[in-house]
Symmetry: C2
Subunit: 203 residues, 2 copies
């Protein structure tokens, strides 16, 4: 148990709020005063606890990925379902997350890729890392599925994997432009038709 004055705000709670503010308003659009005001932690406290603005942004983005990205990706990776089912589940959940009114619109990782493209290489890199992590999971998954016979032997498993991984980018932008549930749902339906069946001759 620490000795000094007790914290008013739990840092994890603060990080969760900071994440939403950065996600909502972007790096340049968010001021440290905004963050202090929204989180309830005064500015010097933020600096003491999280470092400077860029550092807090990176921690917020990691927090996002750990809490909202990783669970979906883990579920995809560990799903016992057929490829078609688990991919559809993944995209459906991404689409549904775009409709959650309690979170900012769109996808924080997509925002980071787009916003950090030229001016904030450090924060684009971490977004790119997360994007690549998801892509690698898809590649693994499609590779194994092909070996299990769930994809035609002549299918380009890597290209398919990258395509489906990238559909979450489109969903992220659609989320930012407030697409409807119906639009997102039929978007996923059409995307799924790009996944070929293996018309094999077993059993």
């Amino acid at each position: 148990m620490g000795r000094g004055r007790p914290r008013k705000m739990d840092p994890e709670t603060v990080l969760d709020i900071a994440m939403k503010v950065f996600w909502d308003k972007g790096f340049d659009g968010t001021s440290m005063n905004d963050l202090a005001c929204e989180t309830g932690m005064a500015k010097p406290g933020l600096y003491a606890c999280f470092g400077d603005k860029e550092s807090l942004y990176k921690k917020s983005l990691s927090h996002y990925y750990n809490n909202l990205g990783t669970p979906l990706i883990d579920e995809l990776r560990n799903s016992p379902d057929p490829l078609k089912v688990s991919v559809r589940n993944f995209l459906t959940k991404v689409a549904n997350s775009m409709l959650d009114k309690s979170s900012p619109s769109g996808c924080f990782v997509v925002n980071s890729l787009v916003q950090g493209a030229s001016q904030h290489p450090a924060m684009e890199k971490i977004g790119r890392d997360f994007d690549q992590n998801r892509r690698n999971t898809f590649i693994d998954l499609f590779d194994k599925a092909q070996k299990k016979g769930e994809l035609p032997p002549d299918a380009d498993a890597k290209a398919l994997a990258e395509f489906f991984s990238a559909q979450s980018l489109a969903l992220g932008v659609l989320g930012s432009s407030n697409a409807t549930k119906e639009t997102l749902s039929s978007f996923v339906d059409v995307a799924m038709t790009a996944l070929p069946e293996n018309s094999h001759i077993e059993e």
Copy 2:
């Protein structure tokens, strides 16, 4: 012929440069000093010529759409080719535009949708208008194609149209994350497999 001191910079040239700066650094990441410096037109000149920052941003985005978006969309709309060919052409050209080293990465419209999502409704609206214009063109095109028998009668032409229109959003984000030519090219290949053929019995 005007009476006063002649302009140093052609406003169209200035707008073209401003477009690239906003496209590159975003609305919040671009200062009026940046613009004055890059365009060669001093700050009061920018205000006299284009209004305030938001107004200049809107004009830059319109300039982008008129010069880089509309030609592609018009070509798509007026193409005499089969649907499959014209859609592939469109996506290929969007993908190739992501590789143009002389322009900022990504897509200015996608950037505007993502960045303006919460803080700058006015500038998101114009991005959304452009996005909708493209979507409507796709919907028209797919509708007519279906009536011409280029799509199966039971296909959901509108859903297909919105899906393919939204693929440019994914390409825009892929462009922002510096995807390679190969990635973009096989992305388009896979996307095209979602376009069903009409296995009809004519001729």
